[in-house]
């Protein structure tokens, strides 16, 4: 599986001009708010039409400005988790997950929903509504819903924002599991350097609608291409926090760390 994009879009106040490729790996789009990261996801999913460029998934053209191809969002095989893990507030947990299972016949749908509820540790919450569950649970439901159709790539818009550190680590682990199980490109948007370093196999640094640098976290950390990148990397005292995060891959370890 691989996703290749080249996108140009003029928007009020700024223009987006990016080109990159993602294989079966964790790609993190990192940059300050308003850099065009979320817009990139919307362009890939077909929710906004680019002015120029292409979106290709395993060679299938989903969008091409020159060939006038523009597959509607309904027909694009992406799993998309929106900012704040948008769930349908009028549907239960079970209902939300089932709503992700279009084209699945009724009998297997029920079975698949049950499996998802088990895989995502949502047992007992089936009949709860989104406003009755926690932030971490919401993220899990949103991921389960997005994966129901077995998408060919996963687009995650700030899926970890506003979560407590413990929950954040749990969701991160879940994301890594998903990557290994589904073997698809996972594109994750964040403005949090710690999340970026904890998850990225490839990092793409955005600013003002352009790409500043692309590479593995190690490459970028050891060799920031210019001062702009450096400034973005060191906006936080990351090393201390990074140590905590990488050393504490489970809540249990985090608790141990806190005791010391």
């Amino acid at each position: 599986m691989s996703l290749a994009i080249k996108l140009f879009k003029n928007l009020p106040g700024f223009s987006l001009n990016v080109e990159w490729q993602a294989d079966e790996e964790f790609v993190v789009l990192f940059g300050p708010s308003g850099a065009g990261k979320s817009t990139t996801l919307k362009l890939i999913a077909g929710l906004i039409e680019p002015d120029e460029g292409f979106v290709k998934l395993n060679g299938d053209v989903l969008y091409d400005s020159q060939r006038k191809i523009n597959v509607p969002p309904q027909k694009r095989p992406f799993g998309y988790v929106f900012q704040d893990s948008t769930l349908f507030p009028h549907m239960t947990v079970k209902g939300n997950i089932a709503y992700g299972g279009k084209h699945i016949d009724k009998k297997s749908l029920e079975q698949r929903v049950r499996q998802m509820i088990k895989d995502f540790h949502l047992e007992g919450l089936e009949d709860k509504f989104p406003n009755e569950i926690s932030g971490g649970q919401k993220r899990r439901v949103a991921l389960a819903m997005a994966l129901m159709r077995e998408p060919k790539a996963l687009l995650l818009d700030e899926p970890l924002t506003a979560l407590d550190i413990q929950i954040k680590i749990e969701v991160m682990e879940l994301l890594k599991e998903i990557k290994e199980k589904f073997l698809i490109p996972i594109i994750l948007v964040t403005h949090d350097i710690l999340e970026a370093f904890s998850l990225a196999e490839k990092m793409i640094i955005y600013r003002n609608g352009r790409i500043l640098q692309m590479g593995t976290p190690a490459e970028i950390l050891n060799n920031p291409i210019n001062e702009d990148v450096e400034r973005l990397l060191y906006a936080k005292d990351i090393f201390q926090e990074l140590y905590i995060l990488s050393g504490a891959s489970t809540p249990k370890m985090l608790r141990q760390l806190r005791r010391t």
Partner: protein, 223 residues
């Protein structure tokens, strides 16, 4: 005091309002959906046309309806030729007048409710492979439910109280087209104050109750 003409008026009013409501609700939802969700040229004009009955004197609506549906009217002419039937001065005309005057309330309230929905939810439904139709039925309209309900209540109340346009297109024929608002007018004209009192009180309660309900549900829709 509750004589048969009075009971007839009450029944007729509800019948007229119910028919107007049955048509105004689906039409209103459809128009509101288009206005809230679609971008197209002339949208502001369409919006204005559907709002106009709120500010026009009902007699102007009545005038247009006569031009359209009268025996020599633009549509009425063909209707008469085809079926030998003219709608003027029947209770159907009263229902049409009520529909026209009350539709803007349905459109406005529903449109506001749809515009309040988090657009991410609608887009999320699309990315899950659901068509616009499925999304409208399963996401957009259910989330606008309270606004739609408030709109439907207001529409019914407005249809029930319609006077001006009704008088022009349906007349005030006792036992045929005299709805309650017309009956109140007639009662006052002929000095039957007791009758006017009862009907006025009845309508104040119904309209007040409707507004209360609409506010209750509409207010929650905003949340």
């Amino acid at each position: 005091m509750m004589d048969s003409s009075l009971l007839f008026s009450i029944r007729l009013s509800f019948q007229v309002a119910a028919v107007a409501e049955l048509v105004a609700v689906p039409v209103g939802i459809f128009v509101a959906y288009i206005l809230a969700m679609k971008q197209f040229k002339g949208k502001d004009i369409i919006d204005t046309i559907f709002t106009l009955p709120l500010v026009l004197p009902p007699t102007v609506i009545g005038y247009y309806l006569i031009v359209l549906l009268g025996r020599n009217g633009i549509i009425g002419k063909y209707l008469y030729e085809a079926m030998g039937f003219n709608i003027m001065f029947t209770w159907y005309a009263a229902a049409v007048a009520s529909f026209c005057v009350s539709l803007p309330l349905m459109v406005k309230t529903t449109k506001a409710a749809i515009e309040l929905i988090d657009k991410n939810l609608i887009e999320a439904s699309y990315t899950l492979g659901h068509s616009e139709w499925t999304t409208a039925i399963r996401v957009t309209l259910p989330l606008a439910k309270r606004g739609i309900l408030a709109g439907a209540i207001l529409t019914f109340a407005r249809a029930l109280g319609e006077f001006g346009a009704t008088l022009m297109v349906a007349g005030n024929i006792p036992g045929k087209t005299t709805t309650v608002p017309l009956a109140i007018y007639t009662a006052m004209e002929s000095g039957e104050y007791a009758k006017a009192n009862i009907l006025a009180l009845l309508f104040t309660v119904i309209s007040g109750g409707s507004l209360y309900l609409a506010n209750k549900y509409g207010g929650k829709a905003v949340k």
